[in-house]
């Protein structure tokens, strides 16, 4: 049976209302402070060390994003990969269930819009809010970098930094979609928040750090030659990499590394023999770096779409009455 009317009727009304809500909310205050502090922290840390750098680096500016020292091993990139999921979950965990709890859901759905529009409007508003924060953060880092270093970034650096920004927004989208999915599944906002945070912890720490090595050890046969050297086999490495890529955290880290560090020439396993004849320390052109990061980019976006479809199906099956 075909339904009449466009599923996008009302998306803009929902978007405008939700975006205005987010911007004026206390959560946004927190996000703003985190953005400012992170930006200042990242730049301050890098600048302190960069002043001592004698060798000239073509991509000095990009280092602002991924630089970490021995003493403080937390780069801006690492910090963002932790901060962004938390903010996304914070914006999305009560997106749908709060409408039920406030008893506004049936009133809203009695208006001439489809449920798709409500979900899409809320998702886009959350993503726009996060993007606003991330763009601000990005500009702070670039601006403060310009100010303190006095060296303008090259065109390629700006392009790479922009690609990093887009990857960050896609990563934020994944966690926002997760949060909204949980907000549809669970009627209680607290349950939804805890489950989303639990999944985040699992996919960021437990899965790549603990479970993947265990699974690989147990199920992938070791190579006798490699064992003699105390090394995992190539098959084991491949499996470990593949499995850990189920986590959006891994995907984002890889994509960000590929675009922020032009010397990254692969994200997979390489043998020493393959390195022969390679010029060490050379940088890939932007197009090639993007090509390396492309599967990660698409996987992040695919994850958003899959999560959104799941959310839609669950939501569509729900009874409106609370």
């Amino acid at each position: 049976m075909r339904r009449e009317g466009s599923p996008f009727t009302g998306v803009s009304a929902v978007f405008m209302k939700e975006y205005a809500d987010h911007i004026g909310s206390a959560r946004m205050r927190v996000l703003e402070w985190l953005v400012v502090l992170t930006g200042i922290g990242a730049v301050a840390l890098s600048i302190r060390d960069f002043k001592g750098l004698v060798e000239s680096d073509r991509f000095l500016f990009l280092k602002l994003f991924s630089y970490a020292t021995e003493s403080i091993p937390v780069s801006f990139l690492f910090f963002v990969s932790f901060l962004v999921p938390l903010m996304a979950i914070g914006l999305g965990f009560d997106a749908v269930n709060s409408e039920f709890n406030r008893r506004t859901m049936s009133r809203i759905l009695a208006q001439p819009i489809y449920r798709d529009a409500l979900l899409l409007g809320k998702f886009l508003a959350g993503l726009a809010t996060l993007s606003t924060g991330l763009v601000a953060l990005w500009l702070i880092v670039i601006g403060a970098g310009l100010f303190t270093m006095g060296v303008p970034p090259s065109g390629e650096e700006v392009a790479r930094a922009l690609a990093f920004l887009v990857a960050t927004i896609a990563y934020a989208g994944v966690w926002l979609a997760v949060a909204i999915l949980f907000s549809v599944i669970f009627r209680s906002a607290a349950t939804s928040a805890l489950c989303a945070l639990g999944l985040w912890l699992f996919l960021t720490l437990i899965w790549p750090q603990l479970l993947v090595p265990m699974v690989v050890q147990l199920f992938v046969p070791p190579d006798p030659v490699a064992v003699q050297f105390g090394q995992p086999s190539a098959a084991q490495l491949e499996w470990a990499m593949g499995l850990s890529r189920l986590s959006p955290f891994t995907l984002f880290s890889e994509a960000a590394t590929a675009v922020l560090q032009p010397s990254t020439f692969t994200l997979g396993v390489v043998f020493l023999s393959q390195l022969q004849g390679m010029l060490r320390g050379t940088a890939l052109p932007l197009g090639q770096s993007l090509l390396i990061a492309w599967p990660q980019f698409t996987a992040l976006i695919a994850a958003v779409i899959v999560l959104f479809a799941m959310t839609y199906v669950v939501f569509q099956r729900q009874e409106v009455r609370a």
């Binding site: 049976m1 075909r2 339904r3 009449e4 009317g5 009727t9 009302g10 009304a13 929902v14 405008m16 209302k17 809500d21 406030r102 008893r103 506004t104 049936s106 009133r107 809203i108 759905l109 009695a110 208006q111 001439p112 819009i113 489809y114 009874e319 409106v320 009455r321």
Partner: protein
Amino acid sequence: MTDTVIEARGLRKDYGATAAVAGIDLDIKRGEIYGLLGPNGAGKTTTILMALGLTEPTGGTVSVLGHDPVRDPLAVKRRVGYLPDAVGFYDNMTARQNVRYTLRLAGMARAETERRIIDAMARVRLSDVIDKRVGTYSRGMRQRLGIAEIIAKDAEIAILDEPTSGLDPQATFELLDLIRHLKAEGVAVLLSSHLLDRVQSICDRVALFSRGIIALEGTVRELGQKVLGAGHAAHVEASGVDVEAKLRAVPGVQKVEKDERGWRLISDHDVMAEVAQTIVQGGGRLQRLAIAEPSLEAIYARYFEEHRDAA
């Protein structure tokens, strides 16, 4: 354009093995107030949700203003206003912002939206608090805001789910007054309630729900005749004569019962004039003579008493 705005035929909704609504027929006409009455869980809200296209029927058909709410829900929702049971608003937004959001969702042009909000808020007498946060509103004000939303939307059908529950008598009175005004403007009003005496006064027709079916349907008087016995009921208060004997002597009177203040009589036709004449001519003093409007409460209680075993 037909006069019937909501038409249901054999409408049913099953949740698993239990039937929430087990095949009902409804015809609601333009400009009438139709009450869905019955205990909680009898299927009133489910019926309403199916008419709005918010729940898909398991069987049967429903047509609202000529549209099928399953296939074309947007066309239905554009022309129907809905005030849910225990309606909620965004407490952190003002009344104006709340209604504005609804009208934006309804796809109304921006310029027209503002004018309509002001008009509708004046109609429900909330103009002076239009820019206050809804969080500060009382329950009665929230219900009135819900009505304002329906007015602003210019709905042709207003569906009100338990509009008076939880309201104090004053707020109830004001709300019922607003509902009468809706009717006066030609809006068909479908309301559900388990508070019978409050609804009795405004409903043109009612449907009595019981376990997912409509047990009785019609005007309150028709139901009274069906359930409490055929005939016209009247109440007489008189003195100075053997009233009971005189009443029984009036042709057409079937039954006379003494109650605390006078006599209740049931007759097969309207015997008011004869009763008055008999008592006055017999030398009695007639203090009060009135048609006894059957009380929904009594109909309801009697009906469920009679059908407890059958159901």
